[in-house]
């Protein structure tokens, strides 16, 4: 355990010393420009980050498109049912002669009025 601790201390000490030496040697440099290695590494890292952010943003946009509220879902379902009912009705009406078709439609409208009337009252 003690040995491990000593190693840890040694590692930290070497890292600290290296960091301080690095900062002091940089001070000895007269140039007022950053090193090429620093510039290249920073450009590459920044562009990687930019790509990551762009990918994340695209995924987020996709999620926004998929996320719909409950009333939009209800409206969609109602529209789907209405389309199916109308299709069924048109098939039924086309198979009847015009007299029966008028009777069927009139009965349906009357039923709807009675139903709506009941809802209002």
């Amino acid at each position: 355990m003690k040995h491990k601790d000593n190693n840890l201390y040694y590692g930290t000490s070497v890292a600290q010393s290296d960091e301080n030496i690095s900062r002091l040697v940089k001070l000895a440099d007269d140039s007022n420009k950053p090193s090429r290695a620093f510039t290249e590494s920073l450009i590459n890292n920044a562009l990687d980050k930019l790509e990551q952010l762009k990918t994340a943003r695209k995924l987020e946009e996709k999620n926004i498109i998929m996320e719909v509220s409950w009333w939009e879902k209800a409206m969609g379902l109602a529209a789907m049912i209405a389309v199916v009912c109308l299709a069924g009705l048109s098939i039924l009406v086309s198979n009847l002669n015009s007299f029966f078709a008028v009777i069927v439609l009139t009965v349906m409208f009357i039923n709807r009025f009675i139903y709506l009337g009941g809802l209002i009252l």
Partner: protein, 197 residues
């Protein structure tokens, strides 16, 4: 660059176009570095602040509005904000007083405070100590820390093996530390300029 072309570039910039950003970052790094160095003459801190500014800009890329100004003005605003933050951080820390040799004694255990690194005498001492090392030691330290080269590239430049580079670096660090402590103690005793003739 015509105004229209400039505007198109700015829109590409706001969208995060990689080519435009590569050119932009490459152009801005030396300008930002110079700006931070003028404020605090400390290359390590300047690098740190340049890095922070560039990453702040990348993260805030979506918030850039071409109608409000050029990308250069925008990133300078971010840099100025980082200077304000750094100044505020320093104001809240205790000031560093005392002889430089005291800080150099703790070089292996504690980070050298930025205020100490920014003293003119520290740069003079660092230059003087580095100048007293053997030519090979100076070369390897400059290549590693100033040019930021990896051991393999240094080995290629110096015509030695990678292992030899590591050994040389190790010896150079010890020599530099010894020279720094010696020069700093002379400086504190007021004998530094006498030895310089």
């Amino acid at each position: 660059m015509s105004n229209e072309l400039e505007q198109r570039c700015w829109v590409g910039f706001a969208r995060g176009d990689s080519d435009i950003w590569r050119e932009f970052i490459g152009r801005e790094i030396p300008l930002l570095y110079g700006m931070f160095m003028r404020r605090w003459p400390n290359p390590s801190l300047a690098e740190e602040l340049v890095q922070k500014t560039i990453f702040d800009a990348v993260r805030g890329c979506g918030s850039y509005d071409p109608l409000r100004g050029s990308p250069e003005e925008w990133i300078l605003g971010i840099a100025r904000n980082n200077i304000r933050l750094e100044a505020r951080k320093r104001a809240s820390q205790p000031s560093t007083n005392g002889d430089i040799s005291r800080y150099l004694e703790a070089i292996d255990t504690r980070p050298l405070p930025d205020e100490v690194l920014e003293r003119e005498e520290t740069a003079v001492l660092a230059r003087s100590a580095l100048g007293r090392l053997k030519s090979k030691e100076q070369t390897v330290l400059r290549a590693r820390y100033i040019e930021g080269l990896p051991a393999r590239d240094i080995a290629g430049q110096m015509g030695i093996t990678e292992k030899a580079v590591h050994n040389l670096l190790y010896r150079a660090r010890i020599s530099l530390r010894r020279e720094l402590k010696r020069t700093a103690s002379l400086y504190d005793k007021g004998q530094y300029y006498e030895t310089q003739g």
